[in-house]
Structures are given as structure tokens and as C-alpha cells.
Symmetry: C2
Subunit: 186 residues, 2 copies
């Protein structure tokens, strides 16, 4: 067994990476369960909802951006997009400035679905949210997971983070709180 | 849509939980890929390896501990344990002080396999490790993901964290670094 890098011991590195493996499995399983409960009434799987999510918040996206940002194979992104097109939620297009890539964007029905789903977001339990309240109370805001962000930036690259921030900026701008109602603007 | 808690706005909460969903998917997909590449030569899936991992580092574990700590259904833990038993890596037992639960522990062959796999740990790429080096250099140690730990503690409970720390303490004690070799002691 060779020393992978000189800046850390093999022991530290192995304990660290095995620790992260366990933690990230536990975190993802909780997120996955929340996500599945939320989307269950709409007959979508997580990948399908993720495709709609990305296409909506990026205001249209290429299949390769969907795959990259949704962390799925290009064939998975394409095949589920096709199914969403058949159900009338998504449409395929080419862009004049980029003839090589296929783009997807939401139809009126797809937008209605996404907005309906946000409207019912708090109908199901979000264990991640409940599990974060103590941190929110302690620090005055939700945790930012800056070390996770940094690791993801190094693994997936700067443009992954750029798409990430762009989608959340668009999301944030579209959210309006009105008394006790949360409205996602078109 | 009702306000879920009064201590935060629905807008904050939605942006936060959607952010964590994206981050944890990306993190888990990287971990999953590293994990699969590492275990591929040994004809194991992630759940099977996880069961061996837990049984090894806890020095034997009940099926319900395996399920809880491995974040899998009890039936999944049981069925994959059965397969591992058939392959001669695991044995089932009852404990005198706990007749109700079924315990699993590694056979000599199972231990040999786990140790062989650690011996080849650095034969495959660990993107999580590479993606964490910049943080290690900056802070002098690997990140601890304390906010992730806190959220997991709140979701899965204090005993999840206790099992987690116990398994890593055992793991740490069993690891010996000898010149450029890392040895996992029995």
C-alpha cells in the first residue's frame, strides 16, 4: 500500500474518508426519505423531480447541465426527460447560439406541477429541517455546511458551484412570503 | 400552507432544506462511486460491505444495530447477512444476555476479507479524500463536518452517534502505521 500524499498520514486519511462515507450515507438517506415523501403524490421519482427542479430554477437547461448538476448519467437525464416530455411536463429544444446541445424547459403544465408541489411542501415531514432547528436556534441561522461545499467544489469543479448558486439565486428571487403564505412566483 | 415553526421563516426553511438536499446528493454520489470502486474486486455491494464493516468494527453486532447504523431496512440487513453467511464471511449467533436479538460476527474468512480490502484501500481513487486536501492544508487537519454531525444526531438520535463513535474508536485503535505501511490489527 503506497502513501497517497505526503501531507497526511494514511491512518488519518483512512479514518477521515471512512467517517465521511458513513456520515454522508446517513445524511443522504434522511434527505432521500424526506424527498420521496414530498413527491409521492405526484407520481415522480427523485431523478424526474430533480430534472424538473433544475429546468425550472435554471429557466431551461441543457441535458448535460441537468446530468452534471443532478449528478446522474447523461442517459438517465435524457431518458427521464423523455418520460417527462411524454407526460407533457417538459419540452425539448435547440438554442440558436448552441446547436450541439439539447435543452429542456418546463411546459405550462410542468410549471404548474412544480408550483403545486411547493404549495404542499410543508404537508410532509422534513426530518432534515427538524434536525436543524437546534442549530438554527443556537447560531441564529441554519448551518451552511461550508466544509461540505468546499469538498464538493473540489470534486465537481467551480462550474458545478456556479450552477448551484445560480439556481438558488433564481429560487430565492421567486419566493415571496405573504403573511402566512409562501408563494413561488413564475 | 402552514408555518411549520415560528422560529424561522418558511422561505428560509425551504431554501435551506432544498440546498441540503442538493448538497447531500452530490456528496453521497461521490462517496458511493469511491466506495463501489474500492469494493468492486471483492464481489460485494455497498450494503454487504457495510454489514461486514459494522460487524467487524463493533466486534459483532445485532441485526437491528446493523440496520440502524447502516441506515437500511431490517429485512435488507437480514437478507444480505444471510448471503454473507452462505459465502462463509459471517456467522449468526444468540447472546446469553440477549436472547431476543440475532447477532452477526465475522468468521476468520470474513476478517481476512476485510483486512485484505483495507490493504488495497489506496489502489482505487478516493475523490472525497482528494477533494478534502485543500482544507487539510488550510486548517492543518481534515474537516470535521460538525454541523452535519449535529443534524444527524438530531435525526437519528444519541445512540446512533454513540455506535458511530464506538466503531471509529475501535477502528482507530486497530490501525498501526509502520513506515510506509498501514496495518489493521486483528
Amino acid at each position: 500500500m503506497a502513501l497517497p500524499e505526503e501531507s497526511y498520514t494514511m491512518k488519518e486519511a483512512m479514518l477521515y474518508s471512512q467517517r465521511i462515507a458513513q456520515l454522508s450515507k446517513a445524511l443522504w438517506k434522511a434527505v432521500e426519505k424526506d424527498w420521496q415523501q414530498w413527491i409521492k403524490p405526484y407520481d415522480l421519482n427523485i431523478n424526474e423531480h430533480h430534472i424538473l427542479w433544475i429546468a425550472y430554477h435554471l429557466k431551461g437547461a441543457s441535458i448535460s447541465d441537468v446530468a452534471r448538476f443532478g449528478v446522474m448519467h447523461v442517459s438517465t437525464a435524457f431518458n427521464f426527460s423523455k418520460k417527462l416530455e411524454e407526460r407533457g411536463f417538459l419540452k425539448f429544444s435547440k438554442r440558436d447560439d448552441d446547436k450541439r446541445n439539447t435543452y429542456v424547459e418546463l411546459t405550462k403544465e410542468g410549471e404548474d406541477l412544480i408550483l403545486l408541489m411547493y404549495d404542499h411542501y410543508y404537508d410532509t415531514e422534513h426530518s432534515i429541517l427538524n434536525g436543524s432547528l437546534a442549530l438554527k436556534e443556537l447560531y441564529g441561522r441554519f448551518p451552511e455546511f461550508l466544509d461540505v461545499m468546499a469538498v464538493i467544489r473540489n470534486i465537481y469543479g467551480e462550474d458545478f458551484i456556479e450552477i448551484f448558486e445560480k439556481s438558488f439565486n433564481n429560487f430565492k428571487e421567486s419566493l415571496v412570503e405573504d403573511d402566512d403564505k409562501l408563494i413561488v412566483k413564475r
